[in-house]
Point group: C2
DNA sequence: ATGAAAGCGCTAACAA
DNA sequence: TTGTTAGCGCTTTCAT
C-alpha cells in the first residue's frame, strides 16, 4: 500500500506558518497567548498574568493555564515582549579576540553569570580594529542589548562611540582594557603591582639584570606593567631604562630578537615576558645557546596557558584572574541594569593577578 | 555664577524616555519612524519605504528622509522589525567550549561571515554538558534566532532537542561534532583520512610500532580517527589492536601515563596524539628518558596551536581547517535561511585537514 | 478575579 | 507616488 502524506500549512498574514497538519495530526502550531486563551475560554490578559504568577489570578486558573502552556510547549515570543518592555534580556560583549586564552576565559566567566541570571550573550569581535569597534557599537546601540561589556582595541583612543550608550540608558562596563577618561565602572587586574611583584621576585632570586619582553602597543595595561617593573627596580636602586625593554613587533621574528638578546654581551639573567607567546621562544633560544633555566636565566611570564606547569622547567607565571574578571563584570552589569535609570558610578574593581612560582624563576625545584 | 543644570525627561507610556532636554537643548530623542514622518509631513509608510529605498518613492523624498534620518541618528528598532517580519538577523552558535583554540577559530570564521552578511551572533556554551545543551536549545528555540550552528557535547546521543528546530522553520547546521542520524547539513573535516595519512606518514618515516594517544570519549570524530589509524596499519599488514591506543582520561595524570608508556619494554617508535594537550607531555617525558625526537621517537599531533612550529624539535601536525569550517557553516546557514521554507538537504561538506610535516616526524631537518 | 482596550515601532496589503 | 489601515504578540492601565 502506497504511503500518502498530506501536509497542510496555515499561514498568518505575514506569511508565517501558524498551524501545520500532517495527515490530520497537528504537527506544529505556533502557540501564542491568544491560542491558550481561546482554548481555555479566558482572556489574553488573564493568561499572561497567570503565566507570570500574578497575585490577581486565582490558583485554579493559574493551574489550568500552566498545564496547557506546558502541554503545548508555549514559549513567549521574545520580540513581542522586548518591543513592549523595552528589554531584551541580552548583554553584548565586544572584545578584540576570542582565540586568546585570556579572553576566552573571560567569556566563560561572563557566560556563566549571564546563564544563571537568564541573560543571553551577544559576542562581537573587533580584531583590534578601531573602525570595526565603532561600527559594531553603532550597530548594536538601538534595541538589541540591555547592557554592554567592552574591552577596547589597542588602537582605541577616543571614546565617542562608547559614551553614546549613556543616553540610550544602556549601561556600559569595561573589562581589562579600559579607558580611563570614560566614566563607567571598570573591572581590571592589578597590572602595576603584579609586574612590580614579578620584578621583585626575580631580584629576590638573585637576578642582577632583568629585561622586559613585550609586543609594542599602547594599552594602558602594558604601560602599567612597565611602570611597575621600573618602580621595582628603582626601589632596589637599580637603574632602569627603556633599553632594557625588548619590543617584539608582531610581524617581526620575535624568536630572532630574543635569540640575539640572549647571545649579546650584556645578556640579562632575568626576563619578564608580558605576553604568553614570547615564552616558548625564550625557552628554545636558551637551549640553543646552552643557557640553563633557571641557572643562568630566570624567567617569569604573563600567561593563562594551562601548560605552564608542564613546561620543562615549569614556568613561573603571572596568571590573570580572567574567569573572575568576566564574572565580576557581568554581575556588575546585570545589577546596574536592574536599577532603573541610575547610572552607576565610575568605580574600578581590581581583581589581583597571581604570581605562581614554579621552577623557571629559580626559587623552587622542578 | 552658579551653574544650574535643568534636565527634563519625557517618558512614553511604558516608562521609557522619549525626549530628554538639558537646559533647553534636546539631548536625546528616541527617534522613530513616526517622529521622522511628523517632522517631514509624510506618512510613516512613506518614510519606511524611503529608508528601504523602495522604487515607489520619489528621489527627492528619499533624499529628504535620508537626510533627516542621519541627522537625528535614526536606527530602526530591532524588536519591532523582528516582531513584524519574524526575522531577527541573528544566528545562534551552540558549542562546548570557547577556551579551545579550535573552537575559537571556528567562531572567528562564523563571525567573519556573519558580520559581512549583516547578522548578529549569539553564542552559548555547553561545557560538554548534555543537559545544558538541551536547556539552551529550549531557551532559544522561539524567536531569538533565525538559524542555528551547533557542535554537540561528548555526551549527546539523542537529538530530540535538535530536531525540534525544523518545525519552527529554523535551519540547523552541524559543524565538526555532528550527529549522523540528524538530517541536516554538516560541515566537518576528514578525520578518517587525516589519521590514515598521519599513520602512513609515520610508517613512511620508518616507524615500526605506532601508538595513538587520546582522551577517552565517544565522539564520532575520535572514532573516525581511530578507524583511519587502524585501516592504515592494516593496509600495511601491521596488526593493530586496542592495546596500541592510550586513553588518557582528563582527570588522570596524563604525563605519568605517557612517561610509563615510553619507559616500557615495548615502547613505540611513533606516536600520534589526537589532542593538542598531550603533545607537551610527550616532549617532556622523552627528554626525561633521554629519547631523542625524531631519532628514537617520531611524533605527529592534531593541533591548531600556532606554537607547533616553534617547539624544539618543531612539531609535525594535523591541522584542522577551523576557520574555514566556521566560515563554510555560516555561509551554508545564511543561504539556507534565505530560501523560504526550503529545508536544505542532508549534505556533508568535508574540508580536509592538513598534514604539516615538520621535524618531529623525522622527514625534515630543523 | 477577570477582561477590554491601547499601544510598543514596524511592515505590508490595499486604497487613493 | 503617497497614505490608510491592520496587525505581529505581548504587557499594562483601567474598568468590571
Amino acid at each position: 500500500m502506497p504511503y500518502i502524506k498530506i501536509k497542510i500549512c496555515i499561514f498568518n498574514s505575514t506569511g508565517f506558518p501558524v498551524i501545520i497538519y500532517v495527515n490530520d495530526k497537528v504537527l506544529m502550531e505556533n502557540v501564542t497567548l491568544r491560542i491558550l486563551a481561546d482554548k481555555l475560554n479566558l482572556s489574553v490578559t488573564t493568561v499572561s498574568k497567570a503565566l507570570r504568577d500574578s497575585y490577581e489570578i486565582s490558583e485554579p486558573t493559574k493551574q489550568k493555564v500552566r498545564e496547557l502552556a506546558t502541554a503545548l510547549h508555549y514559549t513567549p515570543n521574545a520580540y513581542a515582549r522586548s518591543l513592549r518592555t523595552g528589554k531584551s534580556e541580552t548583554i553584548g560583549v565586544v572584545l578584540p579576540e576570542v582565540a586568546d586564552h585570556f579572553f576566552a576565559l573571560v567569556i566563560n566567566g561572563i557566560e556563566s553569570v549571564a546563564k544563571t541570571a537568564g541573560y543571553h550573550v551577544l559576542i562581537y569581535l573587533t580584531h583590534e580594529d578601531y573602525n570595526r569597534e565603532k561600527e559594531i557599537l553603532e550597530y548594536i546601540r538601538k534595541g538589541r542589548i540591555d547592557g554592554l561589556l567592552i574591552s577596547v582595541t589597542k588602537e582605541t583612543t577616543v571614546a565617542d562611540h562608547i559614551t553614546k550608550f549613556a543616553p540610550e540608558n544602556i549601561p556600559v562596563i569595561f573589562f581589562d582594557r579600559m579607558m580611563e577618561q570614560v566614566e563607567v565602572p571598570k573591572v581590571v587586574t592589578n597590572d602595576f603591582e603584579s609586574c612590580y611583584q614579578a620584578t621583585q621576585h626575580l631580584l629576590d632570586s638573585g637576578c642582577k639584570q632583568i629585561n622586559l619582553c613585550t609586543i609594542s602597543d599602547n594599552l594602558i595595561i602594558s604601560k602599567q606593567r612597565i611602570a611597575g617593573y621600573i618602580k621595582a627596580l628603582q626601589d632596589n636602586n637599580i637603574p632602569a631604562g627603556k633599553d632594557n625593554i625588548l619590543f617584539c613587533r608582531e610581524d617581526d621574528n620575535s624568536y630572532t630578537q630574543i635569540y640575539n638578546l640572549l647571545k649579546s654581551e650584556n645578556r640579562p639573567d632575568g626576563i619578564i615576558s608580558l605576553v604568553d607567546k614570547l615564552t616558548l621562544p625564550v625557552y628554545i633560544a636558551s637551549e640553543k645557546l646552552g643557557l640553563t633555566i633557571p641557572g643562568e636565566l630566570k624567567l617569569v611570564s604573563y600567561s593563562n596557558n594551562p601548560s605552564a606547569g608542564i613546561l620543562n622547567p615549569s614556568l613561573t607565571t603571572v596568571s590573570q584572574p580572567a574567569f573572575q574578571i568576566g564574572q565580576t563584570a557581568a554581575k556588575l552589569l546585570i545589577s546596574s541594569m536592574g536599577s532603573k535609570r541610575n547610572q552607576v558610578l565610575n568605580e574600578v574593581t581590581v581583581i589581583p593577578s597571581n604570581l605562581v612560582i614554579r621552577a623557571s624563576s629559580g626559587q623552587k625545584t622542578n
